[in-house]
Symmetry: C2
Subunit: 367 residues, 2 copies
DNA sequence: TGCTGGACTTCAAACGTTTGAATGGTATAT
DNA sequence: ATATACCATTCAAACGTTTGAAGTCCAGCA
């Protein structure tokens, strides 16, 4: 039953082997200030012995005593979502030089897991928590317990400043506008739009941006060309949604020259739907996505998309976290700022100048 | 400097509030056997008080005392590799019911990080380590320190049974053979093969399987159609490698009707290369990948590939780990078995019957 | 009256560290 | 000779838990 019995080498093991006290060994191995006073020869002896015995300090004992864990909890709402990976990477890259470790957990889109992992993060005494979630989830008791224990929190992918939580996200509205303007500039006028599901935070602002840009460029968005994705369960559902909606559109003979999809996964589904119907992308129909996740760059044609600076978002969130931790020691003050990053249009090959067709949607065989 | 000062609620805080001793509160909240003897009314009182104060037991103190951490270290060689995600998912799914947590870290393909994270895992007293790496890395001192501390280890994606490490991986040789047979069955005879880089463990066995199947089906593998990817640095390099080699092949006018790529990323690069040259997949050239990572299913045409049962591999590795942990308490015995899972051919739309062309590689405009 | 045996609760030691204070030296300054 | 300073090392308490052993209280019984 006992796992660590006679397992790990401890300080006192090393001390006994060196015939010195535990204190001396600790002082030397942890490079405490006092170690200046320890004879160089002794230091050498201790260090080589420790290495030889395979000693590694027990982080549990150490953290207990030091009252520091050097840990930031990172709670991803769904790690299978390609969106997460670069964010996590950014977080790690920022944590590294600050000598912090991430305690990374994956809620797998499950509310229950989300709660239980949050509890776990609290129990492991993470000094702060970064939540990655563009999902609209119920955050009430999430906050309660975290705040009761004075653990600072930052969220990536959602605006929770209304709840006094510092938030880092892309300017979705600007992104939506960017996408529509791009299609407008290519001459597209009949543009189908696939809006995101209700439960995604990004859905609304992107749609707002699209509408704004449409008004500004004088494009009329035909309500028969505006669709909405159902709520998703796994990363694939965006793809399936895009595929299905495209099939539906084509089945009833809707007339459009471009599709503006909620995100890249949806866009890839659209491409598949068009292709299945014998339409070429971008010759017969342009497609634009959003996010710039890995598969967008790997597909053929490469997907034109609105890039979220995901890694930067992770970096930024972490920097804010670390700063908050520093300030905590001085004052408990926390300003729940909103940090919005600019999206960027990435033009690849899924969008091109609108064909000079008018009434037809260009349906037809490929060859 | 001190972070947790006056931060977290402790047992003695709760005890004071309840006007009971720390012991009683501990016994109740941790549901120890002794709690049977505590009056129901007292239990209620303690529990509600704990909840109201937002108490969460300190995992550090608890683990220190219990000498159990309920933690398995999961060391991914490169989490950006889509290969990892399903494996990790499998690990989590298996850990969950056993009431273990994963300590997930990402070496980002860097040797230095790999070592430092391994040390971290050891310091955090993970009861076992699962390494996810199909990379061929130098594992000498990895082993040394881990073994000195009697921490069981399992590796996913590589055969390290020669080092007495239990290994879980797909039968790459069978997979390679499966891929070649598939193309053979479709009538392909001139097949280009892109072998994996030296530093990937899978490269060799897949190539062996391909050769074996070629011999058995009577296909002659033209050495001018066999290429090898350079060593990679990030997940994109597979794609770039496939793209570049395809360009090269086409530039010198090589004659082939199908490409068997090392993995899906490479295959997607090949598709792009063919498409750029005006060749259609699968009409003019079939492409087969390996792994069945997410982007393979999302691209158009859907990629025909050899599926690795990644989630199952994670599950299996974890089950072996948990079993090893149980046995450790009884005997220190460890049998370093090799567990090979069967790959599966997934036919999508990037492969089709070979065109009845002979001397030409079907080069030409698309329309 | 004293004794037994629950029912309920607490004591105190331990887990492996860190660290302020203390120790016993030896050399130099007063 | 005593004080001062410094060097090299150790003591002992603490961090927040858990848990075997040890109370305390009271009812019931001889």
């Amino acid at each position: 039953m006992a796992r660590r019995e006679s397992g790990h080498v401890t300080l006192s093991d090393v001390a006994r082997a060196c015939e010195l006290s535990v204190s001396t060994v600790s002082i030397v191995l942890s490079e405490a200030p006092l170690s200046r006073h320890v004879a160089e020869s002794t230091r050498q002896r201790i260090r080589t012995m420790a290495r030889r015995m395979g000693y590694h300090p027990d982080a549990y004992a150490r953290s207990l005593r030091r009252r520091r864990t050097q840990t930031i909890g990172v709670l991803a709402f769904d790690m299978s979502d390609p969106f997460c990976i670069p964010v996590i990477r950014g977080i790690e890259d920022a944590l590294q030089p600050a000598n912090y470790f991430s305690l990374l957990v994956n809620a797998q889109t499950q509310r229950k897991l989300f709660d239980s992992y949050l509890r776990m993060i609290l129990e492991r005494r993470a000094e702060g928590v970064i939540v990655i979630a563009s999902w609209v989830f119920e955050e009430a008791n999430l906050l309660a317990d975290i705040e009761k224990n004075h653990v600072p929190i930052v969220i990536v992918g959602r605006d929770l400043t209304a709840r006094r939580i510092p938030s880092v996200l892309v300017d979705n509205e600007a992104g939506g506008a960017l996408a529509l303007r791009h299609l407008h500039a290519l001459g597209h006028r009949r543009i189908a739009v696939i809006r995101g599901p209700d439960e995604m935070f990004d859905s609304e602002p992107r749609w707002t941006g699209i509408q704004r840009a449409a008004t500004e460029t004088g494009i009329r968005l035909d309500s028969r060309l505006v669709f909405q994705l159902p709520n998703r369960v796994d990363p694939r559902s965006g793809f399936d949604g895009g595929l299905q909606l495209t099939r539906d559109m084509l089945a009833v003979g809707r007339d459009f020259t471009a599709v503006l999809a909620f995100d890249d996964l949806t866009a890839l589904g659209v491409v598949r739907g068009l292709s299945d119907a014998g339409l070429r992308v971008p010759e017969d129909c342009s497609v634009v996505g959003f996010d710039d996740i890995l598969p967008a760059a790997l597909s053929t044609p490469g997907l034109t998309t609105i890039r979220q600076p995901l890694r930067e978002m992770g970096l930024l969130a972490t920097q804010r976290m670390l700063k908050a931790l520093d300030e905590t020691s001085a004052s408990g003050l926390r300003k729940a700022g909103l940090h919005m990053l600019e999206p960027e249009l990435v033009v690849r090959n899924s969008s091109s100048i609108a064909a000079a067709r008018s009434g037809s949607n260009g349906r037809g065989a490929r060859h």
